[in-house]
Amino acid sequence: MERYYQEEIECAPLEKIREIQSKKLVEQVKHVWDNVPYYRKKMEEKGVTPDDIKSVDDLHKLPFLSKQDLRDSYPTGLLGVPMKDCVRIHSTSGTTGKRVVAFYTQEDVDLWEDCCARAIMAAGGTSDDILQVAYGYGLFTGGAGLHGGSHKVGCLTIPASSGNTDRQIMFINDLKATFLCCTPSYAAYLGERFKELGYKPEDITLKAGIFGAEAWSEEMRRDIQNTLGIKAYDIYGLTELSGPGVAFECSEQKGMHINEDHFIAEIIDPDTEEVLPLGSEGELVFTAIDKKAFPMIRYRTKDICKLSREKCSCGRTHIRMAKPMGRSDDMLIIRGVNVFPSQIETVLLNNGYAANYQIVVDRVNNTDTLDVQVEMTPEIFTDNIGEVEERQKKLSDDLKSMLGIKAKVSLLAPKSIARSEGKAVRVIDKRKI
């Protein structure tokens, strides 16, 4: 039986959703015009005033916000309320440039936690569940978001935070945890550790997991599901928009429902900035329509994906987004070809390698080189050199046919690639460009 946290809104008819969106958008634009000079200036430059925004159909008239805008306005330039009305900040890791600091009022925190609660219940969670949060706590939004959502659902929450893998396993075992929330790469690592300790999937009490904060492939999902004996659900979010829970998977697992009563999604052509028709692939753009402290309007995520309004058997009516292929920030251009780490991951897992890998890009004699480093595993190793080499060659051939460029495959000793407790570091780009 499908369970909902807020059934009335999660399953509302489309007209109702649009009505809510229009009402909130009009208010939000007024709020920003009055309180965020940085964005007001952008509107003025485009010749738009709040009077031009009467419904969600007018959204396209508004200027975009980019990561660059966030950098330029750091730290408080986009703040929508006096600092004394805020109750918390979170911040991005700053891996792709300057940190972003996001502010929250108590209402902002509440609606964010509601989104996470919806995600937990969509994954089958109830107040009977014991949910271990192995996302990092602190500035990172992962820990706080799922922690708050877990409280709202009424789960017993284990705030394990990230790291200390054997302690994670001890708590899962001793308290019989049924839900795990962390990054997919850490879930894979926990699975690996359970296996090392001699646990079979049926010995592990977990029944479901909610994993996000980095791009992961269907193959990685299969891998995690098999080693932990769980159903693995995807969750999507950005610190700029609150954190995890902007969109989440339901039992159907065909795309993630975007919480449309809080976030309006658009797909644009990243080059022309033109809004594309429903179903087209392009850059995902979000407008947060009721977050007051850090009101993002038409924020360009750099995530490339598609939206779908197809009816979902779970009963939810909110629009679904496909798993993004990866942030355009993660995309590598190697010898002029676009390469996403998630494509490489797919090939590795299909060839029986573990989800631990590193991609090293370098430039030798003006030519880009791609070195995919994977760890040798007992399952793949044999005394027969010919067989090992053949596997290596097959992997290299499969990478070539997936990416369209040649990749070198290096086999490394087990455990030689550092395990990540948060977001995995997959790419080492040594090119000095």
């Binding site: 595993t377 007992p378 190793f381 044999t382 005394d383 495959v409 290096s410 086999l411 000793a413």
Partner: protein, 144 residues
């Protein structure tokens, strides 16, 4: 009557082999025979030791990938033509050899030993039986 050989995956970088011998030395594993097969990108160390199970467990605990492979350990007289004579038995019996390596015995007995990896160990043993070859058991290997 085969013995267990340990095959260890070695990443192609300085110090890997040393790390392996260090782990084995610390566990007081005594090596009888060693051989190193290398490719462009990685190596496989092949070892015959006094306690194969203990060695494999120790290596795995230290994050090495290691597997066990049955091989034949055959005693040969350390004299000219010794290997030739031995191989004639293999070829008469139609046993195909994948690889082989040698190790000397201890003391003054003038004995040497050859390790043979064949495709089908059981079948090869049956075919070589009655040819007067001295095949070593795991126990004998431990006590050499």
């Amino acid at each position: 009557m085969s013995v267990m050989q340990i095959s260890v995956f070695l990443e192609n970088k300085p110090g890997t082999l040393k790390k392996m011998t260090e782990v084995l030395a610390a566990s007081k594993i005594s090596m009888r025979a060693t051989s190193l097969a290398e490719t462009k990108d990685f190596g496989i160390a092949r070892l015959v030791v006094d306690d194969a199970m203990e060695a494999v467990n120790t290596l795995k605990e230290h994050d090495f990938v290691a597997s066990l492979t049955p091989v034949l350990a055959v005693e040969i007289p350390d004299e000219t033509g010794g290997l030739d004579k031995l191989l004639s038995h293999f070829s008469e019996a139609g046993v195909n050899i994948e690889y082989m390596y040698a190790f000397p015995g201890r003391g003054n007995g003038g004995q040497a030993y050859m390790i043979f990896r064949v495709a089908d160990t059981k079948n090869a043993e049956a075919k070589l039986a009655g040819k007067g070859l001295k095949l070593l058991t795991q126990e004998e290997i431990a006590n050499i």
